[in-house]
Each structure stands twice: as C-alpha cells, then as structure tokens.
C-alpha cells in the first residue's frame, strides 16, 4: 500500500471514530439526561372544585325509615357482575375472587414447533377503579428510573400486574396515572385513556384534544400503543408504530369489554418450541375474538411480564427479569393478610 491510499484509509477511520463519538454523545445526552433533572412537577390542578352549597337552614321533615330493607352498599359494578365476585376471598393458582376483585387466568397455546405461541389471558372484573391502579418505579416520577420487577410488585400490593408503557422514558405526551396529570401534550403515538367512569378509549394522535379528555375525567392515560382494535372492535388494518411490528415478539396488552370488565394479555416469546411471540395483527385478532371493544399494546420484548400473587406468571424471554419503569395492576386493600 503506498502512502496516499493508506492516508485516505486512516482519514476515513478518523471520520468514523469521530462519528461514533458524536453518536455516543448525542444518544447519551438524549437517553441519560436524568441525573440533573429536577423531579417531576406536581400535577397541575385541572379545575377548581365548585363550592359546596351550604345546607338549607330549614330542615326537611324526616321521613320514617322503612322497617325492612337493609341498604345495598354494593357498587354498580358489584351489582352488574355479582356472579363473578365471591363473599369470601378465594385464591387458587390461577384465580382470585373476592367481593371486590375477580381474576381468572388461562394459558393458551397455539401452533406447533417453531410457530408455537403461548399467551396468558387474565379476565378481570373489579368493583371500582380503586382496584385498577398503576405504579411507577419507586413510586416517583424520576425520569429514566427503573425498579426491580418483584420489588415493585410487592410494594404496590398487586394481585395481578403487567408491564406498562415505560412512562418514565417519556418526557412528553399525555400521561396520567391514578388521576394525577404528569404531561399534557399531544402524543406521538396512539393514546389509551381509562376514564373515571371506567370507560376505556383509544385514539390516534390527531383524534383528540387534551382539554376535552381532561374535562371528561381521566384516571389513566398510556402512551405506547398501537391501538389494536377499531371502533367496531375489529382488528386494525394498519398500526401506528415502528418496524418492530414486523417481527414476532413477547407482548403485553390491555383489553376493555365494558366499565368494570377488562383483560390483560401477556404473550411469551423468543423461546422456540414454547412461544415465538406474536405479531401485532395476531395480537389484535386475539382481542377481536375475545369480544373486546378496545385493546391497546403496551411495552413488550424483554419488558413484557405478568405477575400473579407476587410471583412471575409469564416466562421471561431471557430468563431474568428486566427492571421496569411502571406496572398496571389490580389490587385491593389488605388482600395479602387474607391469603
């Protein structure tokens, strides 16, 4: 090699090294800015509560109490799904029923050989939205924070939990957790909203206004997606997502039947012979066949996980739990004491 080509090669190598340095700096600055970032601002109040009218000075005549009926203290959802709940807490290896929560998990396997797919379907009935919670790593809003899965599961007293939308990696979008508003921007992807009346809706990024959603009362809002079903409950024709849609992967997703009735689906994957994972259209088909009205894909891959009774229920693709940013969970007060 004479001097000139050698020099050219070395110069190009130097350019490559410079490119790698710039890339590292840019990606690092984007992905790890958290250390100097102030903790998330407390949620802004959405509306000033209306003053409660004072009680009338002239008391209304008190009617005689009816002698017979004891008041029905059940919530509307407890009445509607009365056949799902039990008077006592009953726990088996794949079900949990109590006066407030009913969970039944079934594991379904389809296909053969390398095309085998295994997924876990948790059918959920709850008495109120207090039983449907979300939890972030360490219970805070520290950007890019993660926490050990089982630790987070135990601290949140989850009966059942699945991986969330990795919200602590998102510095914008429309993010609401347990009624607290963290970001109020339009999202870049499909949005899923659980309203305070228990209705769940999914939206394309240009289909909603944040103000209108907030006015309706938002309990949870997730930014990940894509939405899997259209307004008629049929699998979508196209998905607002990345090229990763082209590969079978472990998946976690939430489905909605009606207020108080939901389901979590966790697809195991990347384990040939046991489960290869699912494509998004396959996952959408599962929800369509279940009869869900809405369904929404959540964080998948190595993050996809389902826990039940404080134990990992799904089978991790890499054998080990990945620290997570957030969880969706079903819980009720004091259930661990009644085990």
């Amino acid at each position: 090699m004479n001097r000139t080509p050698k020099r050219i090669a070395l110069t190009l190598l130097a350019d490559l090294l410079l490119a790698a340095l710039i890339l590292g700096a840019a990606a690092g600055a984007q992905l790890f800015p958290a250390r100097n970032r102030a903790p998330a601002a407390p949620p802004e109040p959405t509306a000033t509560p209306e003053p409660v009218p004072e009680t009338s000075p002239t008391p209304e005549p008190v009617s005689e109490p009816e002698p017979t009926a004891t008041p029905d203290l059940r919530t509307p959802w407890q009445i509607r799904f009365a056949d799902q709940f039990t008077e006592e807490t009953v726990i088996t290896e794949n079900s949990y029923t109590s006066p407030q929560v009913a969970i039944h998990i079934s594991t379904i396997q389809t296909g053969e050989g390398a095309k085998t797919v295994t997924y876990h379907l948790a059918d959920i009935h709850i008495a109120s939205l207090d039983n449907f919670r979300t939890r972030t790593a360490h219970g805070t809003m520290e950007y890019f924070d993660t926490q050990d899965l089982m630790e987070m599961d135990a601290e949140s007293h989850a009966i059942l939990a699945i991986s969330g939308d990795f919200m602590l990696y998102q510095d914008r979008g429309f993010l609401v957790r347990n009624g607290e508003i963290y970001h109020q921007d339009q999202t870049w992807w499909d949005l899923c909203v659980l309203f305070e009346d228990g209705v769940m809706e999914t939206y394309r990024r240009d289909e909603y206004s944040v103000d209108e959603l907030l006015e309706r009362g938002v309990a949870q809002a997730w930014n990940f997606g894509p939405a899997l079903l259209d307004r008629e409950g049929h699998a979508m024709d196209s998905y607002e997502t990345s090229a990763a849609v082209g590969y079978p992967n472990p998946r976690s997703a939430i489905g909605y039947y009606e207020p108080g009735h939901y389901c979590f689906v966790l697809v195991d994957g990347r384990q040939e012979g046991y489960s290869r994972g699912m494509l998004l259209p396959e996952l959408a088909k599962v929800f369509e066949e279940l009869g869900c009205q809405r369904a929404y894909n959540l964080d998948g891959g190595g993050s996809a996980v389902m826990t039940f009774l404080h134990e990992r229920y799904s089978r991790q693709s890499n054998g080990a739990d990945r620290p997570l940013g957030d969880l969706l969970l079903i819980t009720e007060e004091g259930w661990e004491d009644r085990r």
Partner: protein
C-alpha cells in the same frame, strides 16, 4: 483558517454518519425518542452547516480551478 476549513468535509461525513445511525435506531425503537430531543436538533443543524460549508468550498474550488 485553511486547516480549519479542510476539516469541514470530515465533520460533514462524521455528522452525517451519526445522524444516519440515529434515524435507523429510531425506526426500530421510536420509544427511545432519539429524534425528538435537543441533542438531535443540535446535531442536525451542525450537520446542515457542515454540509453547506463543504458544498461552498467545493463550489469555490471548482470555480477557481
């Protein structure tokens, strides 16, 4: 100054490579938000400036030649 100007094409190459890798990563995992932050914007403008400078140098060199 001449030395500094001779670095422009190399800067342009390096920045373009870095941007290309970021775009490819974003296609596979947009949740990382690599194309949405301030670092990307800075990189993009630097790259545009370097490319503009390189193009001007090439054009001037051609005219002088």
């Amino acid at each position: 100054m001449k030395k500094l100007l001779s670095l422009l094409p190399h800067l342009s190459i390096a920045l373009t490579l870095a941007l290309t890798v970021l775009v490819i990563l974003d296609v596979y995992n947009p949740m990382l938000g690599l194309l949405r932050g301030r670092p990307f914007l800075i990189l993009f403008f630097l790259s545009a400036l370097a490319a503009l400078g390189t193009a001007l140098l090439a054009w001037l060199g051609e005219r002088q030649g």
